[in-house]
Symmetry: C2
Subunit: 325 residues, 2 copies
Protein backbone atom coordinates (compact mmCIF):
# COMPACT_ATOMS: atom_id res chain seq x y z
CA UNK A 1 0.00 0.00 0.00
CA UNK A 2 1.35 3.43 -0.89
CA UNK A 3 2.41 5.57 2.04
CA UNK A 4 0.61 8.95 2.06
CA UNK A 5 2.85 11.94 1.41
CA UNK A 6 2.27 13.27 4.93
CA UNK A 7 4.13 10.22 6.26
CA UNK A 8 6.91 10.26 3.67
CA UNK A 9 10.43 11.59 4.14
CA UNK A 10 13.06 13.03 1.83
CA UNK A 11 16.75 12.60 2.55
CA UNK A 12 18.56 15.91 2.15
CA UNK A 13 22.33 15.79 1.74
CA UNK A 14 24.52 18.88 1.82
CA UNK A 15 27.91 17.95 0.45
CA UNK A 16 30.49 20.56 1.44
CA UNK A 17 34.25 20.76 1.17
CA UNK A 18 34.77 19.60 4.77
CA UNK A 19 31.57 17.99 6.04
CA UNK A 20 28.70 16.20 4.38
CA UNK A 21 25.57 16.82 6.42
CA UNK A 22 22.26 15.06 6.05
CA UNK A 23 18.77 15.05 7.45
CA UNK A 24 15.43 13.31 7.02
CA UNK A 25 12.83 15.91 6.15
CA UNK A 26 9.06 15.68 5.90
CA UNK A 27 7.04 17.59 3.30
CA UNK A 28 6.48 20.51 5.70
CA UNK A 29 10.22 21.02 6.17
CA UNK A 30 10.63 19.51 9.65
CA UNK A 31 13.98 17.79 10.00
CA UNK A 32 13.75 14.54 11.97
CA UNK A 33 17.35 13.42 12.04
CA UNK A 34 20.63 15.25 11.65
CA UNK A 35 23.99 13.70 10.99
CA UNK A 36 27.25 14.27 9.20
CA UNK A 37 30.38 12.56 7.96
CA UNK A 38 33.70 13.97 6.77
CA UNK A 39 33.77 14.63 3.04
CA UNK A 40 37.41 14.39 2.18
CA UNK A 41 38.47 11.41 4.27
CA UNK A 42 37.85 9.02 1.38
CA UNK A 43 40.17 8.73 -1.58
CA UNK A 44 37.55 6.73 -3.49
CA UNK A 45 34.03 7.96 -4.04
CA UNK A 46 32.68 4.44 -3.44
CA UNK A 47 34.12 4.44 0.10
CA UNK A 48 32.53 7.81 0.76
CA UNK A 49 29.15 6.51 -0.37
CA UNK A 50 29.47 3.37 1.76
CA UNK A 51 30.19 5.52 4.82
CA UNK A 52 27.30 7.82 3.99
CA UNK A 53 24.96 4.83 3.67
CA UNK A 54 26.03 3.40 7.03
CA UNK A 55 25.46 6.80 8.66
CA UNK A 56 22.02 7.40 7.16
CA UNK A 57 20.43 3.95 7.23
CA UNK A 58 19.74 3.82 11.02
CA UNK A 59 17.73 7.04 10.73
CA UNK A 60 15.87 5.59 7.74
CA UNK A 61 14.96 2.51 9.76
CA UNK A 62 13.71 4.70 12.61
CA UNK A 63 11.43 6.49 10.16
CA UNK A 64 9.74 3.35 8.87
CA UNK A 65 12.33 1.96 6.48
CA UNK A 66 13.26 2.60 2.86
CA UNK A 67 9.62 2.41 1.75
CA UNK A 68 8.86 5.60 3.69
CA UNK A 69 11.59 7.51 1.84
CA UNK A 70 10.52 9.28 -1.32
CA UNK A 71 14.02 9.99 -2.56
CA UNK A 72 17.36 11.66 -2.01
CA UNK A 73 18.27 15.26 -2.83
CA UNK A 74 21.88 16.40 -2.87
CA UNK A 75 23.32 19.91 -2.94
CA UNK A 76 26.96 19.90 -4.00
CA UNK A 77 29.56 22.30 -5.38
CA UNK A 78 29.62 22.31 -9.20
CA UNK A 79 26.61 19.99 -9.15
CA UNK A 80 24.91 19.47 -12.49
CA UNK A 81 21.21 18.69 -12.31
CA UNK A 82 20.98 17.25 -15.82
CA UNK A 83 23.19 14.25 -15.30
CA UNK A 84 23.53 14.23 -11.52
CA UNK A 85 27.26 14.77 -11.68
CA UNK A 86 29.78 16.86 -9.76
CA UNK A 87 32.04 18.39 -12.38
CA UNK A 88 35.60 19.49 -11.62
CA UNK A 89 34.89 20.74 -8.09
CA UNK A 90 38.12 22.44 -6.99
CA UNK A 91 37.61 21.74 -3.24
CA UNK A 92 36.88 18.02 -3.45
CA UNK A 93 39.29 15.10 -3.58
CA UNK A 94 37.47 13.32 -6.39
CA UNK A 95 38.65 14.88 -9.64
CA UNK A 96 36.95 15.12 -13.00
CA UNK A 97 33.28 14.22 -13.45
CA UNK A 98 31.71 12.19 -10.61
CA UNK A 99 28.30 10.56 -11.29
CA UNK A 100 27.27 11.07 -7.68
CA UNK A 101 23.48 10.91 -8.05
CA UNK A 102 23.51 7.59 -9.86
CA UNK A 103 26.01 6.07 -7.41
CA UNK A 104 23.91 7.19 -4.44
CA UNK A 105 20.71 6.04 -6.11
CA UNK A 106 22.15 2.57 -6.74
CA UNK A 107 23.45 2.22 -3.17
CA UNK A 108 20.18 3.23 -1.51
CA UNK A 109 17.77 1.84 -4.09
CA UNK A 110 16.06 5.23 -4.21
CA UNK A 111 15.76 7.97 -6.82
CA UNK A 112 18.40 10.68 -6.27
CA UNK A 113 18.70 14.20 -7.62
CA UNK A 114 21.59 16.63 -7.35
CA UNK A 115 22.17 20.31 -8.02
CA UNK A 116 24.52 23.02 -6.84
CA UNK A 117 24.12 24.62 -3.42
CA UNK A 118 22.66 27.92 -4.62
CA UNK A 119 19.98 26.25 -6.73
CA UNK A 120 19.13 23.89 -3.88
CA UNK A 121 18.71 26.92 -1.60
CA UNK A 122 16.23 28.45 -4.06
CA UNK A 123 14.17 25.25 -4.25
CA UNK A 124 14.25 25.05 -0.45
CA UNK A 125 12.94 28.59 -0.16
CA UNK A 126 10.18 27.81 -2.65
CA UNK A 127 9.17 24.59 -0.91
CA UNK A 128 9.39 25.56 2.77
CA UNK A 129 10.36 29.25 3.08
CA UNK A 130 9.87 32.84 1.99
CA UNK A 131 9.17 31.97 -1.66
CA UNK A 132 6.27 29.61 -0.96
CA UNK A 133 3.71 30.11 -3.72
CA UNK A 134 5.99 32.34 -5.81
CA UNK A 135 6.61 31.46 -9.43
CA UNK A 136 9.22 34.10 -10.21
CA UNK A 137 11.98 35.01 -7.80
CA UNK A 138 15.74 35.24 -7.46
CA UNK A 139 17.62 33.90 -4.46
CA UNK A 140 20.94 35.59 -3.75
CA UNK A 141 23.40 34.35 -1.15
CA UNK A 142 25.67 37.10 0.14
CA UNK A 143 28.33 35.15 1.99
CA UNK A 144 32.07 34.79 1.49
CA UNK A 145 31.08 34.80 -2.17
CA UNK A 146 27.84 35.56 -4.02
CA UNK A 147 25.66 32.62 -5.08
CA UNK A 148 22.33 32.67 -6.86
CA UNK A 149 19.39 30.56 -7.93
CA UNK A 150 16.78 31.85 -10.36
CA UNK A 151 13.18 30.66 -10.58
CA UNK A 152 10.90 31.62 -13.48
CA UNK A 153 7.51 30.16 -14.37
CA UNK A 154 7.77 28.14 -11.16
CA UNK A 155 10.89 26.33 -12.36
CA UNK A 156 14.58 26.70 -11.63
CA UNK A 157 16.53 28.07 -14.56
CA UNK A 158 19.36 25.64 -15.22
CA UNK A 159 20.30 26.72 -18.72
CA UNK A 160 21.24 24.37 -21.55
CA UNK A 161 24.23 22.97 -19.64
CA UNK A 162 22.99 23.12 -16.05
CA UNK A 163 25.21 26.05 -15.06
CA UNK A 164 22.82 29.03 -15.22
CA UNK A 165 22.63 31.52 -12.38
CA UNK A 166 26.20 32.70 -11.83
CA UNK A 167 25.03 36.20 -10.93
CA UNK A 168 27.99 36.81 -8.64
CA UNK A 169 30.17 36.85 -11.74
CA UNK A 170 28.10 39.39 -13.63
CA UNK A 171 30.33 42.35 -14.42
CA UNK A 172 28.83 45.45 -12.88
CA UNK A 173 31.80 47.85 -12.97
CA UNK A 174 33.78 47.29 -16.20
CA UNK A 175 37.53 47.48 -15.47
CA UNK A 176 36.65 47.60 -11.77
CA UNK A 177 38.11 45.69 -8.86
CA UNK A 178 40.02 42.48 -9.63
CA UNK A 179 38.41 39.19 -8.55
CA UNK A 180 41.46 37.17 -7.50
CA UNK A 181 39.71 33.82 -8.10
CA UNK A 182 38.70 34.46 -11.71
CA UNK A 183 41.03 37.23 -12.90
CA UNK A 184 37.94 39.14 -14.00
CA UNK A 185 37.43 42.81 -13.15
CA UNK A 186 34.37 44.45 -11.59
CA UNK A 187 32.12 41.45 -10.96
CA UNK A 188 29.42 41.62 -8.30
CA UNK A 189 31.17 39.13 -6.02
CA UNK A 190 34.25 41.39 -5.79
CA UNK A 191 32.06 43.95 -3.99
CA UNK A 192 28.87 42.50 -2.51
CA UNK A 193 30.37 39.70 -0.42
CA UNK A 194 31.98 39.51 3.00
CA UNK A 195 35.40 39.62 1.33
CA UNK A 196 34.27 42.52 -0.86
CA UNK A 197 33.09 44.54 2.15
CA UNK A 198 36.41 43.90 3.89
CA UNK A 199 38.30 45.08 0.83
CA UNK A 200 36.19 48.20 0.48
CA UNK A 201 36.78 49.04 4.14
CA UNK A 202 40.55 48.65 3.78
CA UNK A 203 40.54 50.77 0.59
CA UNK A 204 38.54 53.50 2.32
CA UNK A 205 40.86 53.48 5.35
CA UNK A 206 43.93 53.69 3.14
CA UNK A 207 42.58 56.19 0.63
CA UNK A 208 41.19 58.59 3.26
CA UNK A 209 43.92 58.61 5.93
CA UNK A 210 42.60 61.86 7.41
CA UNK A 211 39.02 60.57 7.97
CA UNK A 212 38.51 59.42 11.58
CA UNK A 213 36.94 55.98 12.06
CA UNK A 214 36.42 53.42 14.79
CA UNK A 215 37.85 50.88 12.36
CA UNK A 216 41.27 52.51 12.87
CA UNK A 217 41.54 50.92 16.30
CA UNK A 218 42.17 47.62 14.49
CA UNK A 219 45.26 46.63 12.53
CA UNK A 220 44.52 46.72 8.79
CA UNK A 221 45.19 42.99 8.45
CA UNK A 222 42.63 42.25 11.17
CA UNK A 223 39.76 44.15 9.52
CA UNK A 224 36.92 41.86 8.45
CA UNK A 225 33.25 42.26 7.61
CA UNK A 226 32.24 41.65 11.23
CA UNK A 227 34.34 44.59 12.43
CA UNK A 228 32.91 46.82 9.69
CA UNK A 229 29.41 45.79 10.80
CA UNK A 230 30.07 46.46 14.48
CA UNK A 231 31.59 49.88 13.78
CA UNK A 232 28.70 50.84 11.50
CA UNK A 233 26.21 49.79 14.20
CA UNK A 234 28.00 52.18 16.56
CA UNK A 235 27.39 54.98 14.05
CA UNK A 236 30.85 55.10 12.51
CA UNK A 237 30.49 57.19 9.34
CA UNK A 238 33.24 55.55 7.30
CA UNK A 239 31.94 52.06 8.10
CA UNK A 240 28.44 53.15 7.07
CA UNK A 241 29.92 54.54 3.87
CA UNK A 242 31.30 51.06 3.15
CA UNK A 243 27.73 49.71 3.19
CA UNK A 244 26.46 52.59 1.07
CA UNK A 245 29.13 51.89 -1.53
CA UNK A 246 28.34 48.17 -1.47
CA UNK A 247 24.60 48.81 -1.71
CA UNK A 248 25.11 51.15 -4.65
CA UNK A 249 26.78 48.38 -6.66
CA UNK A 250 24.43 45.64 -5.46
CA UNK A 251 21.41 47.83 -6.25
CA UNK A 252 22.64 48.47 -9.77
CA UNK A 253 23.18 44.74 -10.27
CA UNK A 254 19.67 43.95 -8.95
CA UNK A 255 18.14 46.48 -11.37
CA UNK A 256 19.77 44.59 -14.24
CA UNK A 257 18.54 41.25 -12.87
CA UNK A 258 14.99 42.59 -12.50
CA UNK A 259 14.96 43.84 -16.09
CA UNK A 260 16.04 40.32 -17.13
CA UNK A 261 13.52 38.05 -15.41
CA UNK A 262 11.11 40.46 -13.63
CA UNK A 263 10.88 38.53 -10.35
CA UNK A 264 8.20 39.10 -7.73
CA UNK A 265 10.91 39.10 -5.05
CA UNK A 266 14.62 38.90 -4.49
CA UNK A 267 15.38 36.78 -1.46
CA UNK A 268 18.63 37.24 0.44
CA UNK A 269 20.54 34.71 2.44
CA UNK A 270 23.99 34.66 4.03
CA UNK A 271 26.15 36.66 6.39
CA UNK A 272 26.22 40.01 4.64
CA UNK A 273 22.43 40.18 4.44
CA UNK A 274 22.35 40.16 8.25
CA UNK A 275 23.57 43.76 8.15
CA UNK A 276 19.88 44.49 7.48
CA UNK A 277 19.02 48.08 6.61
CA UNK A 278 22.67 49.11 6.61
CA UNK A 279 23.03 47.25 3.33
CA UNK A 280 19.39 46.93 2.22
CA UNK A 281 18.45 50.60 2.29
CA UNK A 282 21.15 51.78 -0.15
CA UNK A 283 20.61 48.62 -2.20
CA UNK A 284 16.90 49.27 -2.58
CA UNK A 285 17.42 52.99 -3.32
CA UNK A 286 19.91 52.31 -6.08
CA UNK A 287 17.93 49.42 -7.53
CA UNK A 288 14.81 51.59 -7.81
CA UNK A 289 16.84 54.47 -9.27
CA UNK A 290 18.01 52.35 -12.18
CA UNK A 291 14.75 50.51 -12.99
CA UNK A 292 12.55 51.43 -15.93
CA UNK A 293 9.25 52.95 -14.70
CA UNK A 294 7.25 49.74 -15.40
CA UNK A 295 9.42 47.89 -12.86
CA UNK A 296 9.55 50.51 -10.10
CA UNK A 297 8.11 49.87 -6.61
CA UNK A 298 7.10 46.31 -7.42
CA UNK A 299 9.97 44.02 -6.47
CA UNK A 300 10.11 42.82 -2.86
CA UNK A 301 13.55 42.56 -1.26
CA UNK A 302 13.15 40.02 1.55
CA UNK A 303 15.18 37.67 3.69
CA UNK A 304 15.28 33.91 3.70
CA UNK A 305 12.93 32.26 6.19
CA UNK A 306 15.06 29.17 6.59
CA UNK A 307 17.36 28.71 9.59
CA UNK A 308 20.89 29.11 8.34
CA UNK A 309 22.07 25.85 9.91
CA UNK A 310 19.28 23.88 8.20
CA UNK A 311 18.96 25.68 4.89
CA UNK A 312 21.33 23.54 2.84
CA UNK A 313 19.76 20.25 3.99
CA UNK A 314 16.25 21.63 3.47
CA UNK A 315 17.18 22.87 0.01
CA UNK A 316 18.62 19.51 -0.97
CA UNK A 317 15.58 17.66 0.41
CA UNK A 318 13.26 19.96 -1.53
CA UNK A 319 14.62 18.55 -4.79
CA UNK A 320 12.86 15.31 -3.85
CA UNK A 321 9.38 16.84 -3.62
CA UNK A 322 10.00 18.37 -7.06
CA UNK A 323 10.52 14.93 -8.59
CA UNK A 324 7.76 13.35 -10.55
CA UNK A 325 6.22 10.65 -8.32
CA UNK B 1 -14.91 16.15 -37.18
CA UNK B 2 -11.71 17.73 -35.93
CA UNK B 3 -9.49 19.21 -38.61
CA UNK B 4 -5.94 17.74 -38.51
CA UNK B 5 -3.24 20.20 -37.45
CA UNK B 6 -1.63 20.00 -40.90
CA UNK B 7 -4.75 21.65 -42.34
CA UNK B 8 -5.17 24.22 -39.58
CA UNK B 9 -4.16 27.87 -39.69
CA UNK B 10 -3.14 30.46 -37.13
CA UNK B 11 -3.89 34.13 -37.64
CA UNK B 12 -0.81 36.21 -36.88
CA UNK B 13 -1.35 39.92 -36.21
CA UNK B 14 1.51 42.40 -35.93
CA UNK B 15 0.13 45.58 -34.41
CA UNK B 16 2.53 48.46 -35.02
CA UNK B 17 2.35 52.21 -34.49
CA UNK B 18 1.39 52.86 -38.13
CA UNK B 19 0.21 49.62 -39.72
CA UNK B 20 -1.41 46.48 -38.41
CA UNK B 21 -0.33 43.58 -40.60
CA UNK B 22 -1.75 40.10 -40.57
CA UNK B 23 -1.32 36.72 -42.20
CA UNK B 24 -2.75 33.21 -42.13
CA UNK B 25 0.04 30.82 -41.23
CA UNK B 26 0.17 27.04 -41.24
CA UNK B 27 2.07 25.03 -38.64
CA UNK B 28 5.18 24.92 -40.84
CA UNK B 29 5.35 28.72 -41.01
CA UNK B 30 4.06 29.25 -44.56
CA UNK B 31 2.05 32.45 -44.83
CA UNK B 32 -1.01 32.05 -47.06
CA UNK B 33 -2.47 35.53 -47.00
CA UNK B 34 -1.01 38.91 -46.26
CA UNK B 35 -2.96 42.06 -45.48
CA UNK B 36 -2.83 45.22 -43.45
CA UNK B 37 -4.95 48.08 -42.14
CA UNK B 38 -3.96 51.41 -40.62
CA UNK B 39 -3.58 51.26 -36.84
CA UNK B 40 -4.23 54.80 -35.76
CA UNK B 41 -7.15 55.71 -38.01
CA UNK B 42 -9.65 54.67 -35.35
CA UNK B 43 -10.42 56.72 -32.26
CA UNK B 44 -12.25 53.79 -30.72
CA UNK B 45 -10.70 50.37 -30.29
CA UNK B 46 -14.03 48.73 -31.26
CA UNK B 47 -13.93 50.42 -34.67
CA UNK B 48 -10.38 49.21 -35.18
CA UNK B 49 -11.41 45.65 -34.37
CA UNK B 50 -14.40 45.83 -36.70
CA UNK B 51 -12.12 46.96 -39.55
CA UNK B 52 -9.61 44.26 -38.74
CA UNK B 53 -12.36 41.63 -38.80
CA UNK B 54 -13.65 42.81 -42.20
CA UNK B 55 -10.10 42.70 -43.59
CA UNK B 56 -9.27 39.22 -42.28
CA UNK B 57 -12.51 37.31 -42.71
CA UNK B 58 -12.34 36.88 -46.54
CA UNK B 59 -8.96 35.17 -46.13
CA UNK B 60 -10.41 32.98 -43.39
CA UNK B 61 -13.24 31.92 -45.71
CA UNK B 62 -10.74 31.09 -48.46
CA UNK B 63 -8.90 28.82 -46.01
CA UNK B 64 -11.93 26.75 -45.08
CA UNK B 65 -13.76 29.03 -42.66
CA UNK B 66 -13.47 29.75 -38.95
CA UNK B 67 -13.38 26.03 -38.07
CA UNK B 68 -9.99 25.71 -39.82
CA UNK B 69 -8.48 28.47 -37.66
CA UNK B 70 -6.84 27.33 -34.45
CA UNK B 71 -6.57 30.79 -32.93
CA UNK B 72 -5.21 34.31 -33.14
CA UNK B 73 -1.79 35.51 -31.99
CA UNK B 74 -1.02 39.20 -31.61
CA UNK B 75 2.31 40.96 -31.17
CA UNK B 76 1.84 44.50 -29.88
CA UNK B 77 3.88 47.21 -28.16
CA UNK B 78 3.61 46.99 -24.35
CA UNK B 79 1.61 43.78 -24.77
CA UNK B 80 1.06 41.81 -21.57
CA UNK B 81 0.66 38.05 -22.05
CA UNK B 82 -1.00 37.44 -18.68
CA UNK B 83 -4.17 39.38 -19.30
CA UNK B 84 -3.95 39.99 -23.06
CA UNK B 85 -3.81 43.74 -22.62
CA UNK B 86 -1.87 46.57 -24.21
CA UNK B 87 -0.74 48.79 -21.33
CA UNK B 88 0.04 52.47 -21.78
CA UNK B 89 1.58 52.15 -25.24
CA UNK B 90 3.04 55.59 -25.98
CA UNK B 91 2.67 55.32 -29.79
CA UNK B 92 -0.98 54.21 -29.93
CA UNK B 93 -4.14 56.31 -29.87
CA UNK B 94 -5.88 54.09 -27.31
CA UNK B 95 -4.69 55.18 -23.90
CA UNK B 96 -4.53 53.26 -20.64
CA UNK B 97 -5.08 49.53 -20.51
CA UNK B 98 -6.74 47.98 -23.58
CA UNK B 99 -8.05 44.39 -23.26
CA UNK B 100 -7.19 43.68 -26.88
CA UNK B 101 -6.98 39.88 -26.78
CA UNK B 102 -10.42 39.46 -25.22
CA UNK B 103 -12.02 41.98 -27.62
CA UNK B 104 -10.48 40.22 -30.63
CA UNK B 105 -11.42 36.81 -29.24
CA UNK B 106 -15.05 37.86 -28.80
CA UNK B 107 -15.27 39.39 -32.27
CA UNK B 108 -13.84 36.36 -34.08
CA UNK B 109 -15.17 33.66 -31.77
CA UNK B 110 -11.63 32.27 -31.52
CA UNK B 111 -9.04 32.03 -28.74
CA UNK B 112 -6.58 34.94 -28.88
CA UNK B 113 -3.23 35.48 -27.26
CA UNK B 114 -1.07 38.60 -27.14
CA UNK B 115 2.47 39.48 -26.17
CA UNK B 116 5.01 42.15 -26.97
CA UNK B 117 6.89 42.18 -30.26
CA UNK B 118 10.23 40.95 -28.90
CA UNK B 119 8.68 37.96 -27.11
CA UNK B 120 6.64 37.12 -30.20
CA UNK B 121 9.85 37.17 -32.26
CA UNK B 122 11.43 34.66 -29.85
CA UNK B 123 8.44 32.31 -30.07
CA UNK B 124 8.50 32.65 -33.85
CA UNK B 125 12.17 31.69 -33.95
CA UNK B 126 11.48 28.70 -31.70
CA UNK B 127 8.51 27.52 -33.77
CA UNK B 128 9.72 28.10 -37.32
CA UNK B 129 13.29 29.46 -37.27
CA UNK B 130 16.84 29.21 -35.96
CA UNK B 131 15.79 28.16 -32.44
CA UNK B 132 13.76 25.09 -33.51
CA UNK B 133 14.31 22.41 -30.89
CA UNK B 134 16.15 24.71 -28.50
CA UNK B 135 14.97 24.97 -24.92
CA UNK B 136 17.29 27.74 -23.77
CA UNK B 137 18.10 30.74 -25.92
CA UNK B 138 17.98 34.52 -25.98
CA UNK B 139 16.68 36.50 -28.94
CA UNK B 140 18.09 40.01 -29.28
CA UNK B 141 16.81 42.53 -31.79
CA UNK B 142 19.41 45.13 -32.70
CA UNK B 143 17.34 47.75 -34.51
CA UNK B 144 16.60 51.38 -33.78
CA UNK B 145 16.44 50.13 -30.20
CA UNK B 146 17.35 46.84 -28.54
CA UNK B 147 14.57 44.33 -27.87
CA UNK B 148 14.81 40.89 -26.32
CA UNK B 149 12.93 37.69 -25.63
CA UNK B 150 14.30 35.03 -23.28
CA UNK B 151 13.45 31.33 -23.40
CA UNK B 152 14.42 28.94 -20.60
CA UNK B 153 13.23 25.36 -20.05
CA UNK B 154 11.43 25.70 -23.39
CA UNK B 155 9.24 28.54 -22.14
CA UNK B 156 9.30 32.29 -22.57
CA UNK B 157 10.27 34.12 -19.42
CA UNK B 158 7.54 36.65 -18.74
CA UNK B 159 8.28 37.42 -15.11
CA UNK B 160 5.66 37.93 -12.42
CA UNK B 161 4.11 40.91 -14.21
CA UNK B 162 4.62 39.98 -17.86
CA UNK B 163 7.39 42.52 -18.47
CA UNK B 164 10.57 40.41 -18.24
CA UNK B 165 13.25 40.66 -20.89
CA UNK B 166 14.14 44.35 -21.12
CA UNK B 167 17.77 43.57 -21.80
CA UNK B 168 18.26 46.75 -23.83
CA UNK B 169 17.87 48.67 -20.58
CA UNK B 170 20.46 46.70 -18.65
CA UNK B 171 23.12 49.12 -17.50
CA UNK B 172 26.47 48.02 -18.88
CA UNK B 173 28.54 51.19 -18.40
CA UNK B 174 27.57 52.86 -15.09
CA UNK B 175 27.44 56.65 -15.54
CA UNK B 176 27.92 56.07 -19.27
CA UNK B 177 26.07 57.56 -22.23
CA UNK B 178 22.66 59.11 -21.58
CA UNK B 179 19.62 57.31 -23.02
CA UNK B 180 17.38 60.23 -23.99
CA UNK B 181 14.19 58.15 -23.76
CA UNK B 182 14.67 56.92 -20.20
CA UNK B 183 17.10 59.39 -18.62
CA UNK B 184 19.23 56.41 -17.61
CA UNK B 185 23.00 56.30 -18.23
CA UNK B 186 25.02 53.55 -19.85
CA UNK B 187 22.30 51.07 -20.87
CA UNK B 188 22.92 48.62 -23.70
CA UNK B 189 20.44 50.31 -26.04
CA UNK B 190 22.40 53.58 -25.87
CA UNK B 191 25.29 51.79 -27.62
CA UNK B 192 24.27 48.61 -29.43
CA UNK B 193 21.48 49.99 -31.60
CA UNK B 194 21.38 51.85 -34.93
CA UNK B 195 21.05 55.12 -33.02
CA UNK B 196 23.88 54.09 -30.68
CA UNK B 197 26.20 53.34 -33.61
CA UNK B 198 25.37 56.70 -35.16
CA UNK B 199 26.16 58.46 -31.91
CA UNK B 200 29.42 56.62 -31.45
CA UNK B 201 30.46 57.56 -34.99
CA UNK B 202 29.68 61.24 -34.40
CA UNK B 203 31.54 61.19 -31.08
CA UNK B 204 34.57 59.57 -32.71
CA UNK B 205 34.55 62.10 -35.57
CA UNK B 206 34.30 65.02 -33.16
CA UNK B 207 36.75 63.69 -30.56
CA UNK B 208 39.43 62.72 -33.06
CA UNK B 209 39.38 65.62 -35.55
CA UNK B 210 42.85 64.74 -36.88
CA UNK B 211 41.94 61.10 -37.76
CA UNK B 212 41.11 60.78 -41.45
CA UNK B 213 37.87 58.95 -42.31
CA UNK B 214 35.59 58.41 -45.28
CA UNK B 215 32.75 59.40 -42.95
CA UNK B 216 34.07 62.99 -43.08
CA UNK B 217 32.71 63.36 -46.61
CA UNK B 218 29.24 63.57 -45.03
CA UNK B 219 27.82 66.40 -42.93
CA UNK B 220 27.72 65.38 -39.26
CA UNK B 221 23.93 65.68 -39.18
CA UNK B 222 23.64 63.26 -42.12
CA UNK B 223 25.68 60.48 -40.50
CA UNK B 224 23.62 57.36 -39.83
CA UNK B 225 24.31 53.69 -39.20
CA UNK B 226 24.06 52.92 -42.94
CA UNK B 227 26.87 55.36 -43.75
CA UNK B 228 29.02 53.93 -40.94
CA UNK B 229 28.43 50.45 -42.37
CA UNK B 230 29.29 51.45 -45.95
CA UNK B 231 32.47 53.22 -44.86
CA UNK B 232 33.54 50.27 -42.72
CA UNK B 233 32.95 47.89 -45.67
CA UNK B 234 35.32 50.08 -47.69
CA UNK B 235 37.96 49.51 -45.01
CA UNK B 236 37.63 52.87 -43.25
CA UNK B 237 39.52 52.45 -39.97
CA UNK B 238 37.49 54.88 -37.89
CA UNK B 239 34.20 53.34 -39.04
CA UNK B 240 35.55 49.88 -38.16
CA UNK B 241 36.56 51.23 -34.78
CA UNK B 242 32.93 52.23 -34.23
CA UNK B 243 31.95 48.57 -34.62
CA UNK B 244 34.78 47.41 -32.37
CA UNK B 245 33.65 49.81 -29.67
CA UNK B 246 30.02 48.68 -30.06
CA UNK B 247 31.00 45.01 -30.04
CA UNK B 248 33.06 45.50 -26.90
CA UNK B 249 30.02 46.75 -25.00
CA UNK B 250 27.60 44.25 -26.57
CA UNK B 251 30.03 41.39 -25.82
CA UNK B 252 30.29 42.42 -22.18
CA UNK B 253 26.48 42.55 -21.94
CA UNK B 254 26.14 39.11 -23.54
CA UNK B 255 28.63 37.63 -21.07
CA UNK B 256 26.39 38.85 -18.25
CA UNK B 257 23.28 37.45 -19.94
CA UNK B 258 24.98 34.07 -20.46
CA UNK B 259 25.97 33.88 -16.79
CA UNK B 260 22.30 34.53 -15.95
CA UNK B 261 20.41 31.96 -18.02
CA UNK B 262 23.16 29.94 -19.76
CA UNK B 263 21.50 29.78 -23.18
CA UNK B 264 22.50 27.39 -25.92
CA UNK B 265 22.45 30.27 -28.41
CA UNK B 266 21.93 33.98 -28.73
CA UNK B 267 19.97 34.78 -31.85
CA UNK B 268 20.24 38.19 -33.48
CA UNK B 269 17.69 40.00 -35.53
CA UNK B 270 17.43 43.55 -36.86
CA UNK B 271 19.37 46.07 -38.92
CA UNK B 272 22.57 46.30 -36.91
CA UNK B 273 23.08 42.52 -36.95
CA UNK B 274 23.35 42.75 -40.77
CA UNK B 275 26.79 44.28 -40.31
CA UNK B 276 27.83 40.63 -39.84
CA UNK B 277 31.41 40.03 -38.76
CA UNK B 278 32.07 43.75 -38.43
CA UNK B 279 29.97 43.69 -35.27
CA UNK B 280 29.92 39.97 -34.44
CA UNK B 281 33.67 39.38 -34.30
CA UNK B 282 34.41 41.98 -31.60
CA UNK B 283 31.17 40.99 -29.84
CA UNK B 284 32.14 37.33 -29.66
CA UNK B 285 35.74 38.13 -28.61
CA UNK B 286 34.62 40.32 -25.74
CA UNK B 287 31.85 37.97 -24.65
CA UNK B 288 34.28 35.06 -24.43
CA UNK B 289 36.85 37.23 -22.63
CA UNK B 290 34.40 37.97 -19.81
CA UNK B 291 32.85 34.50 -19.37
CA UNK B 292 33.76 32.18 -16.53
CA UNK B 293 35.67 29.11 -17.85
CA UNK B 294 32.63 26.80 -17.53
CA UNK B 295 30.76 28.97 -20.08
CA UNK B 296 33.55 29.55 -22.60
CA UNK B 297 33.31 28.34 -26.22
CA UNK B 298 29.81 26.95 -25.76
CA UNK B 299 27.32 29.66 -26.70
CA UNK B 300 26.38 29.98 -30.36
CA UNK B 301 25.90 33.49 -31.74
CA UNK B 302 23.62 33.08 -34.73
CA UNK B 303 21.25 35.05 -36.92
CA UNK B 304 17.49 34.80 -37.21
CA UNK B 305 16.26 32.51 -39.98
CA UNK B 306 13.00 34.37 -40.48
CA UNK B 307 12.54 36.83 -43.34
CA UNK B 308 12.50 40.28 -41.83
CA UNK B 309 9.26 41.26 -43.57
CA UNK B 310 7.45 38.18 -42.23
CA UNK B 311 9.04 37.77 -38.81
CA UNK B 312 6.52 39.76 -36.79
CA UNK B 313 3.50 37.97 -38.28
CA UNK B 314 5.19 34.58 -37.89
CA UNK B 315 6.08 35.38 -34.31
CA UNK B 316 2.52 36.40 -33.49
CA UNK B 317 1.08 33.32 -35.19
CA UNK B 318 3.47 31.09 -33.26
CA UNK B 319 1.69 32.06 -30.03
CA UNK B 320 -1.28 30.07 -31.34
CA UNK B 321 0.62 26.78 -31.69
CA UNK B 322 1.82 27.32 -28.11
CA UNK B 323 -1.76 27.38 -26.81
CA UNK B 324 -3.15 24.31 -25.16
CA UNK B 325 -5.59 22.75 -27.64
Amino acid sequence: MAIPISQQYAIGIDLGGTNTKFGLVNHRGDISYHGSILTNKHEKIEDFINDLYEAIIPAVNDCGGISAIRGIGIGAPNGNIYNGTIEYAPNLKWKGIIPLASLVSKKFGLPARLTNDANAAAVGEMTYGAAKGMKDFIMITLGTGVGSGIVANGQLIYGHDGFAGELGHNIIIPDGRLHPGTGEHGCLEAYASATGVTRTAIEFLEDKPETPSLMRSYAIEDIDSRIVFECAMKGDKLAMEVYNFTGKILGLALANFVMFSSPEAIIFFGGLSKAGDLIMKPTRDHMEKHLLPIFKNKVKLIFSELREADAAILGASALVWEMKA
